[in-house]
C-alpha cells in the first residue's frame, strides 16, 4: 500500500510540476504585460516629458521625477535610455550617466512592438523589466521600469501554483520560497546533480527531504537563469501517510480486538470445552472421580454441571458394580447387570469345587475374634485369587468353606482343567500359609477339596428382593460329598475328584483311584480319585 501510494504521489507531483510550470510561465507573461502597460502609461506623463526634454532640463529634477514615476507603478528601479542606446538615468545609481545601455534587445523589441518586457540581470539582481518609448509626441528616449524578482515574488507565485519556486543563476539565488538555512542545502544538492536536465522531473534531496524538481529556463537577455519548480514528496505523501497511519491504527485495533475476542472465546468456550473433553477422556479411562472444573453461568457451565453429575453417577454405578462384584464376583456381577435381575436360571455344564478347612476353629482357640476374621480373610483372599485366576467364580463362603464354580456364568471348554489346577494351587498355597502361621505360633490347618463336573442349573435363587446367583443340582451335592470324603483317613487325599471331571479334563494329571461311591438318584456308582499333581 505504501508503494502504491508513493507511486501515485509521484505521478501526481509530476503532473503538478508540469502544469505548475505552465501556470508559472503564464503568470509571469501576464505580469510582464502588465508592467509593460504600466510603463507605457507612465511614459506619456507630459509633465515628466517636459522635465526630461523641455527647456531648462536638469539632471536632478529629472531624477526626482523618475523616482516619483517609480513609486507610481511600484517599480524597484527606473532607467532612461537614449535612442542611441546609452544609459542616461538609473534611479538606483544616480551618479551614473552615459554608459552603454545593457539591454539593447529589449529596446529593439520595444521599438517593434511599441512596448516590451522581459527578464534582465542588473547589479546581481533579477528584474522583470518593461521598456516603453517616451513619446513627445514621437519617441525621444526609452523609459524602463524594473520589478525585482525576489523572495516575495517567489512566494506570490507559490500561492498560485503550490510549488516551491527558486530563481537562480549558477549559485546565485535571486528569489526563492525556501528559508534562509535551507538555501545552502539546496545549492549543495543542485551542485551534486548539476546540470539539471531540462523538461524532466528529477528528484533532489534537500535537507533530508525529497523534492521532485522541474527546471525551466528563463529567457533573460543578459544571463542564464533557471527557475526551479519543486514539490516536496513528503508533503505530497503526508495525507497518504496519515491515511496509512489510520489504517495501521485500525488494523492494530482490529487485531487487538480479534485477540481480545479470541481470548474471550478461549476463556469462555474453548477452555471449558477442552476441560470437558479431558474429563470425558478420563471417564473413558475409567476415572469416574474426575470432576470438571468449570465455573461459569452460561450454557457451557450448565453442560459442565451436567457432565459432573454424569461423572458422579458413573462413579456411583462403578462403585455399585464394584461392590456387586465384590459381593458376588465380577463375572456374576456383569452377568446380573447384563441379564437383569430375574429369578430363574439355565442349565449349564459346570465344574464345582468345594474346599473346607479342618481344625480351623481349633487353630483360632486362643486367638481373638477380630484376628480370627483377619486370618480367615487372608486365607480366603489367597484362595479367591487362585480361583479367579483360573477363571472360576467364587460362589459363596460358608464359614471356613469355599464353593467355587467353573462354567457359570461363562462356560469354557477347559473348565474341568481349570478347577483341577486351581485345587492344586490352593493346596500349595495353604502349605505356604501354614508355614506363616506356624511362624506366628499358630497351629497348622488342613484343607479338603472336592471337585465334580455335571450339568447344573445356574441362576438367581431366592426371592425377588433378596437373591443369590448360584448353581444347584445333584452334581453340586456330589462335589460337596467328595469334599467331605477327604476327612476319610483311608483315602489320605486332600483333593478328591470324580471320574466325570477327569474324563472331561484335557490335561494329564496324577491321580490315585480311591474307589467307588453310590450316588443318590443314580443307579450307577461313580469312581473317585485322589488328585496328587
Amino acid at each position: 500500500m505504501r508503494h502504491a501510494n508513493r507511486e501515485h504521489a509521484l505521478t501526481q507531483i509530476q503532473a503538478r510540476l508540469r502544469s505548475g510550470s505552465r501556470i508559472f510561465l503564464k503568470l509571469i507573461e501576464q505580469r510582464n504585460q502588465q508592467i509593460a502597460s504600466a510603463a507605457m502609461i507612465v511614459s506619456r506623463d507630459h509633465a515628466f516629458q517636459e522635465a526630461f526634454a523641455g527647456a531648462g532640463q536638469d539632471r536632478l529634477t529629472t531624477l526626482s521625477a523618475l523616482e516619483s514615476l517609480q513609486g507610481r507603478v511600484r517599480a524597484d528601479v527606473v532607467l532612461i535610455a537614449s535612442l542611441e542606446g546609452r544609459l542616461l538615468f538609473d534611479t538606483h545609481r544616480p551618479q551614473l550617466r552615459d554608459l552603454a545601455f545593457p539591454f539593447l534587445k529589449l529596446l529593439e523589441r520595444a521599438e517593434n512592438d511599441g512596448a516590451a518586457s522581459g527578464f534582465v540581470v542588473l547589479d546581481r539582481r533579477l528584474y522583470a523589466m518593461a521598456a516603453a518609448p517616451l513619446l513627445a509626441p514621437q519617441p525621444i528616449a526609452w523609459l524602463c521600469s524594473g520589478f525585482q524578482v525576489d523572495d516575495s515574488f517567489a512566494r506570490e507565485i507559490e500561492s498560485y501554483t503550490h510549488l516551491e519556486i527558486t530563481f537562480l543563476s549558477g549559485s546565485n539565488i535571486f528569489g526563492t520560497t525556501f528559508e534562509e538555512k535551507e538555501r545552502v542545502k539546496l545549492l549543495a544538492a543542485l551542485s551534486s546533480k548539476s546540470p539539471l536536465p531540462r523538461q524532466q522531473v528529477e528528484n533532489l534531496r534537500v535537507a533530508g527531504e525529497d523534492f521532485l524538481t522541474f527546471s525551466v529556463p528563463l529567457e533573460v537577455e543578459n544571463g542564464r537563469v533557471h527557475v526551479l519548480l519543486q514539490r516536496s514528496l513528503d508533503r505530497e505523501l503526508a495525507p497518504y501517510l496519515r491515511l496509512e497511519r489510520t489504517y495501521l491504527v485500525l488494523a492494530l485495533l482490529g487485531l487487538a480486538i480479534s485477540i481480545g475476542v479470541g481470548i474471550w472465546i478461549a476463556r469462555g468456550v474453548s477452555q471449558p470445552v477442552l476441560e470437558l473433553a479431558r474429563g470425558a477422556e478420563r471417564i473413558a479411562e475409567g476415572d469416574y472421580q474426575h470432576q470438571v472444573r468449570v465455573k461459569q453461568e452460561d450454557e457451557i457451565g450448565s453442560l459442565a454441571v451436567s457432565f459432573n453429575q454424569m461423572s458422579t453417577g458413573l462413579a456411583e454405578r462403578d462403585r455399585v458394580r464394584d461392590l456387586l462384584g465384590k459381593v458376588v464376583s465380577p463375572e456374576v456381577a456383569a452377568e446380573l447387570l447384563e441379564r437383569g435381575v430375574t429369578l430363574g436360571g439355565e442349565e449349564r455344564e459346570v465344574t464345582v469345587l468345594f474346599s473346607d478347612l479342618r481344625n480351623f476353629t481349633g487353630m483360632c482357640e486362643r486367638v481373638p475374634p477380630q484376628q480370627m476374621l483377619a486370618i480367615l480373610n487372608h486365607y480366603f483372599t489367597r484362595m479367591a485369587a487362585i480361583v479367579e485366576r483360573h477363571r472360576g467364580v467364587v460362589d459363596k463362603y460358608v464359614g471356613d468353606a469355599l464353593m467355587a464354580v467353573f462354567g457359570a456364568p461363562l462356560t469354557n471348554p477347559d473348565d474341568p482343567d481349570r478347577a483341577l489346577q486351581a485345587a492344586l494351587e490352593m493346596v500349595a498355597a495353604l502349605d505356604e500359609l501354614n508355614e506363616q502361621w506356624h511362624a506366628r505360633g499358630l497351629q497348622a490347618v488342613k484343607v479338603g477339596i472336592g471337585i465334580h463336573s455335571d450339568i447344573a442349573v445356574a441362576g438367581n435363587m431366592g426371592s425377588e428382593t433378596r437373591l443369590n446367583y448360584t448353581v444347584i443340582g445333584d452334581g453340586v451335592n456330589l462335589a460337596s460329598r467328595l469334599e467331605g470324603l477327604t476327612k476319610t483317613p483311608e483315602y489320605a487325599a486332600r483333593i478328591i475328584v470324580s471320574r466325570a471331571t477327569l474324563a472331561k479334563a484335557r490335561g494329564q494329571y496324577q491321580t490315585r483311584r480311591l474307589g467307588e461311591i453310590a450316588v443318590r438318584g443314580k443307579q450307577q456308582t461313580t469312581e473317585i480319585f485322589a488328585l496328587v499333581g
Binding site: 504585460q33 516629458q49 517593434n112 511599441g114 513619446l135 513627445a136 509626441p137 514621437q138
Partner: protein
C-alpha cells in the same frame, strides 16, 4: 524719362523673373517605386534668397487631427494654431529647435507661434496621443512639400548652384546624406528624383475606444 526708366526696370524685373529664372522638378519615390507624400524638398543656393512669400501659415486642428501633417516654413515665420474642433486641445512641442506649448484651449489663440530657428519640429496634442504634426523650418526660401503624387516644382530659382535636400518624417537617413547638387542656368528646368528608405509608419492608431497602436 523717369517713368520710362521705371517701366524698363519693372519690365526687366518681370522678364528676369519669367525668362531668366530656372525651375526644378523633383520627384520623390520610395524603394518600391511608390510616390512619397509629405516630403519637404528644399533648394539651398549660394545667392541670397528673397523671403519666401507666404501668407498666414496655419496648422488647423480639425476632427482631432493636425491639418496639414507636414508644414514647411522659412525661419522667422509665425504659425497660427486655430482649434476648429468643439473640444479643446493642448498643443506642445519638446523639439529643441522650438519648444512651446499651448495649454488646453479652444478657438483661435491670441498669437501665432514664431519659428525662428532652422530645424525640424515635431508637435503633438497632450491629451490625444495620435495627434502629430511636423514643421520643417528652413533657411532657404525655395521649398515645397510633396503631395500624394510625390512631385514638386520649385519655380523662380535664380541661376546658380543649388544643394537640394529632402526630409520626410519617416526618413531613415539624415537629410544631409541624401542631398543632391544641381546647377541651374537661366530659363532651364531640371528634374531630380529622390529615392527614400522609409521606416514603417507606426503612428498611434485611432481605433475608437482603444488607442493601443502596435501594442499587444
Amino acid at each position: 524719362m523717369r517713368a520710362f526708366t521705371l517701366l524698363l526696370f519693372l519690365l526687366s524685373a518681370v522678364l528676369s523673373e519669367g525668362l531668366f529664372a530656372g525651375s526644378l522638378q523633383v520627384t520623390v519615390k520610395d524603394r518600391k517605386g511608390e510616390p512619397v507624400a509629405n516630403a519637404v524638398v528644399s533648394a539651398e543656393g549660394a545667392g541670397g534668397g528673397t523671403t519666401h512669400a507666404r501668407g498666414e501659415v496655419i496648422i488647423d486642428q480639425r476632427n482631432k487631427q493636425f491639418i496639414p501633417y507636414v508644414t514647411a516654413v522659412q525661419a522667422g515665420t509665425s504659425i497660427l494654431f486655430p482649434n476648429s474642433d468643439k473640444i479643446r486641445h493642448h498643443v506642445y512641442s519638446l523639439s529643441p529647435v522650438k519648444t512651446f506649448e499651448l495649454p488646453l484651449y479652444s478657438g483661435i489663440p491670441a498669437a501665432p507661434v514664431l519659428f525662428d530657428q532652422p530645424g525640424f519640429v515635431t508637435l503633438g496634442c497632450n491629451i490625444h496621443d495620435w495627434m502629430i504634426a511636423h514643421v520643417a523650418v528652413l533657411e532657404t526660401p525655395y521649398f515645397q512639400v510633396t503631395g500624394p503624387d510625390g512631385q514638386v516644382t520649385l519655380k523662380g530659382l535664380p541661376p546658380g548652384k543649388y544643394r537640394v535636400q529632402i526630409w520626410q518624417p519617416l526618413l531613415k537617413a539624415k537629410p544631409e546624406q541624401l542631398a543632391q547638387s544641381v546647377e541651374l542656368t537661366a530659363g532651364s528646368t531640371r528634374a531630380l528624383t529622390f529615392t527614400l528608405d522609409l521606416k514603417p509608419d507606426f503612428r498611434v492608431s485611432r481605433a475608437p475606444g482603444l488607442s493601443t497602436g502596435g501594442y499587444p
